[in-house]
Symmetry: C2
Subunit: 428 residues, 2 copies
């Protein structure tokens, strides 16, 4: 049989799909037990259509989405437009029309996935989105199928290639944040407005989706706290090195006694941790579980071919299931009641960089403040004063998020102390 595909959008990723169908057609046809045909491609307007045709793209380009939605021959709609709208409206209409949908749109799935998944279930169609998390890494299907027998306790991920490229330059070559951003923009890794990447928003979207697959819980995006890499200084990087750590932007989802906790933040990783050597634009998802113990899934987090490969894998699975007449199961079947962790229950070590007056007795003053919150020190480093100000670096023993908030407030209440940075520190 032939499975007909309608593409929404023909940007970088979409144009990687024909590459796979051509270079790997035999395997894809055998696996899907179907010929896969891209019968229509939605583009923005006639200008884009003419440009693509002139460039030698031999597709049936349309500018009205209804030509795809109302085409009863089209089985699978593949959405590769990005952003929330009009993708959300188009996917909703496609699902309502009984079409299977593949999407790589993490923003949309993290914020409106719940309703789209419910609609797909209601209509008995497939809605798959492997490419939405960590591009080329087949992490979602692996969590859904292979880790089905295992209980995941924590997922740590280097989930944003742009910020990881920047952090790699800052760590390995001592670059400043601004220099790293400039180069990332020149290389096309960062957009002119890099907010989503550098502020941890993109990684937080992925954390929402990983929470569904790993923990069976659907978090609101707002429940994922995110903190970016913009405040990291060469001083922080140098101190981390000295103490045996590498700083990376890490997504961290874990289940504690009271529920699930998800955050994205710059994190001190011990140099021997498998995530510490994930460099450049590569991503990795590190999974802690009661069965396997520790496993890691590493690969490119973005890019035309990797992302297209994940999209094509979804298409193949759907085509195959159409053939096997068992299409329509949810991409992720693991669902439990969503419970958010109590911050008093979520523990980590923390790094504090604090500027204090260059006078005697400051460590004592700091120690009193931390001690009052029952927080003890693992390492303390007082750096040479720079003018009137000395930098004290502290790595604590484990403390809860509540203690972190309280001690930070206490420190901020001291007029001549400045809390420059606070980052989470992972153990070995």
């Amino acid at each position: 049989m032939t499975v007909n595909i309608g593409l929404l959008g023909f940007g970088t990723v979409a144009s990687g799909i024909p590459f796979l169908l051509q270079e790997n057609g035999e395997k894809i046809v055998a696996a899907s037990r179907s010929d896969l045909e891209i019968t229509k491609v939605l583009v923005k307007d006639d200008e884009e259509k003419n440009r693509l045709l002139a460039a030698g793209n031999d597709y049936n380009f349309v500018t009205d989405v209804n030509e795809i939605l109302n085409d009863s021959e089209i089985d699978i709609v593949v959405e590769l437009m990005g952003r929330i709208e009009p993708a959300r409206t188009f996917i909703t209409s496609a699902l309502e029309a009984g079409k299977h949908v593949v999407s790589a749109n993490k923003d949309l799935i993290a914020t409106h996935g719940k309703e789209l998944i419910a609609l797909a279930q209601d209509k008995g169609v497939a809605f798959y989105y492997e490419a939405a998390v960590a591009g080329g890494i087949p992490i979602l299907r692996t969590l859904a199928n292979s880790l089905t027998s295992d209980k995941v306790t924590r997922i740590l991920g280097v989930l944003n290639g742009t910020s990881n490229f920047m952090m790699t330059k800052m760590v390995d070559e001592g670059w400043t944040y601004d220099a790293a951003l400039k180069t990332a923009q020149e290389l096309g890794y960062a957009e002119s407005d890099p907010t989503n990447d550098v502020e941890g928003i993109d990684a937080a979207y992925k954390a929402v989706i990983l929470s569904q697959f790993g923990f069976g819980m659907t978090l609101d995006f707002a429940a994922v706290s995110h903190k970016g890499i913009t405040t990291i200084t060469p001083d922080d990087v140098a101190v981390a090195q000295e103490l045996g750590y590498v700083i990376k932007l890490v997504g961290d989802v874990r289940e504690v006694e009271s529920g699930i906790s998800a955050e994205v933040a710059p994190t001190f990783l011990p140099k021997g941790h498998p995530l510490a050597s994930v460099n450049g634009v590569m991503n990795a998802v590190f999974v802690e579980s009661i069965g396997i113990g520790e496993s890691m899934y590493y690969g490119p987090g973005a890019g035309q071919k990797p992302t297209a490969t994940s999209v094509a894998a979804d298409i193949v699975r759907i085509a195959r299931r159409i053939n096997d007449k068992n299409v329509g199961k949810p991409f992720n079947e693991f669902a439990r009641e969503t419970k958010l962790a109590n911050p008093a229950d979520v523990f980590a070590k923390y790094y504090f960089a604090i500027d204090v007056p260059d006078k005697k007795g400051q460590i004592l003053r700091l120690a009193e403040i931390f001690n009052a919150q029952n927080i003890s020190f693992e390492q303390v480093l007082q750096q040479k004063a720079n003018g009137e100000v000395a930098r004290v670096v502290i790595i604590t023993h484990e403390l809860s998020q509540t203690q972190l908030e309280d001690v930070t407030a206490d420190l901020n209440a001291v007029a001549d102390f400045t809390v420059v940075n606070t980052f989470k520190v992972l153990g070995d």
Copy 2:
């Protein structure tokens, strides 16, 4: 519904399955849409049975396999005995009796998998064996399902935890092979006869299975050349370090123009290669493909809970498919005609450690020999003479396996040269 399981063997791995069913029962039942029940467990004799009962194991232990094979209530037979016989006979009988089979037996699957897979197909039952390669790493199902859209060009793997533990000690702490083996045996990682682990045989079994899933080709075990770690000296390790490499035992399966090439051998990995930081008993499979590019799957290669998790994942998939009434598809559906590569077509860089007389003109003599085979040098290092003998270390540019064989024969024909070691060298 209830899916009934018969276990063959109740050793380390098997006893990890009840742990998962108990600690993760809710998720497992939901995923498999079934209650999973271990109704019979085959043990060797009454002595083992009584020992296990006395230790508080509350199972229906049987000593005659026919009690399981002839039990029409048992849906899935899980073989965890290891070795070829009687596992081969028992699995064959189970498949013939129309039972689904899960196995972790790499030796058996690498050497007799073809006939067992064909029998399962013939009988319309499932025969799954995720745990047979890299224990807890869900690599086989990932290759079968997620990389279905991708064309794999090379699979490199650290596939044997015992030898990797030993190599880690030899590389990180300068231990000798003998010291590393002794400790591995003391820690229970190596058996008293360590041959399968240290000679690359165990890794070669896994390479056979990876070839099926990655390349759709079924190799005879004899087609996988294997070379172990027994000849690696502290000198080799030190030179590797100096030149920026780490030595590991690496399985390497790749497709070249003429066909597929598979080997297991000590390999120089550049320090920045993701496999280079896979240490201790951990395993990893590094996949090169035209779509994703580079991806890696990392985790424990053995151990009770990791292996049991992979076995349990197979059980869950089968139970679910019994429910969905689409059980019986082969674990790996990717199959092509098996073609072995022409050795003249398989290229790599090589490291040579050669002992030569401590007289002038030796590098010239070596250069003439390599030059006659059209092999050029990338790096040459002459070490201080030790007595009458000087050690020359050469890293070549790429040469074919045929050239390797020829130049090795040429070198061996020179009476006062001794080729101490030859190892493959990977590029970045």
